[in-house]
């Protein structure tokens, strides 16, 4: 059982990495790229038999308190 967390910069926050990657893609000739946002991916291994709803609740809290910074980042949590 795994939790997959994707953390991305909030839209209002400067994302110089995303801008730099976007401009590199443009220079390489990839067309139609109108935005790039560089974030983080965190994968968490959960013990077999973990209660899914309880894990979601606990990890949601962990995402909010620690894994992301709500001032500058958004996150998406998936458990599979």
């Amino acid at each position: 059982m795994k939790a997959k967390i994707i953390i991305t910069p909030k839209k209002a926050v400067l994302d110089p990495q995303g801008k730099t990657v976007q401009s590199a893609l443009e220079h390489m000739g990839y067309e139609g790229v109108v935005g790039v946002h560089v974030g983080k991916y965190v994968e968490i291994d959960l013990a077999p038999g973990t209660d899914r709803a309880a894990a979601r609740q606990a990890l949601d809290e962990a995402c909010h308190r620690f894994l992301s910074n709500p001032v500058i980042e958004d996150y998406k949590l998936e458990i599979e």
């Binding site: 910069p9 926050v13 400067l14 110089p16 990495q17 983080k40 620690f66 894994l67 001032v71 500058i72």
Partner: protein, 236 residues
């Protein structure tokens, strides 16, 4: 006065901070991050460095150290706390200061001397800085771009929480003088209660003429002045 200087794994300006305090004729002692108490400290310095390797986000792991619980309590009781560089990041992550510090606009680590202008002189961190005096201080960071949302920024302005802004040698707040893309050239701020402050530049590395600038002394002298006033008031 007695300063406590925190020490996290990969702090690297802790000894500089201790040295600066001693150069000013006061006492400083290191407090390991696993210690849950600050002892009889009059003020706390959260020093620069790369606590926990800057993993996840700068300061994100350090803020959960046992010593940070003690710092929070110290700040809640009105104690003076100064965060420098990584220490500023730790204080923002700990929500002791508003906003956050993100990757420099240039994506480059910037290591150079800059100028800052003091915006609010009515704080325990700035009271001894003469009006109009620009501080020449070193910076050394990759993630010093200050960010806060619009509502937070409005609130900070209303409370005069912006203490320092990056400027050029003439004191002008230009975009060229902004080394990291910080919102409105913000170099340092304080909380609404004015007892917790953080800044990206390193005043502790600019306390002796031999180091190229002694302007950083004014920040520590302001803290010492505030502490002396507080002690005099208590004794009266």
């Amino acid at each position: 006065m007695k300063f406590a200087v925190l020490q996290f794994p990969a702090s690297n300006c802790d000894q500089d901070a201790v040295h600066a305090v001693r150069v000013l004729g006061h006492s400083a002692r290191l407090v390991w991050h696993k210690d849950g108490a600050l002892g009889d400290a009059d003020a706390v310095i959260v020093p620069g460095g790369f606590s926990y390797g800057d993993y996840l986000r700068c300061g994100a792991i350090a803020r959960f150290s046992p010593v940070m619980q003690a710092v929070k309590q110290f700040a809640d009781n009105g104690g003076l706390v100064l965060g420098i560089c990584n220490g500023f990041q730790v204080l923002c992550e700990a929500s002791l200061l508003p906003g956050a510090l993100i990757r420099n606009r240039s994506l480059q680590f910037r290591c150079e001397n800059i100028f800052v202008k003091t915006i609010a002189h009515d704080s325990p961190f700035t009271s001894q800085i003469p009006e109009g005096k620009l501080l020449r201080l070193p910076i050394a960071h990759g993630e010093g771009c200050y960010f806060a949302d619009a509502d937070t920024l409005d609130q900070m302005k209303a409370n005069r929480q912006i203490l320092w802004r990056y400027c050029n040698a003439q004191g002008e707040l230009t975009d060229d003088a902004n080394p990291n893309g910080a919102l409105e050239n913000i170099a340092g701020i304080c909380n609404a209660r004015r007892n917790v402050a953080g800044l990206m530049p390193h005043p502790e590395r600019a306390c002796e003429p031999l180091l190229g600038s002694a302007d950083g002394r004014l920040i520590f002298e302001s803290m010492i002045h505030a502490l002396a006033q507080k002690q005099a008031a208590l004794a009266a």
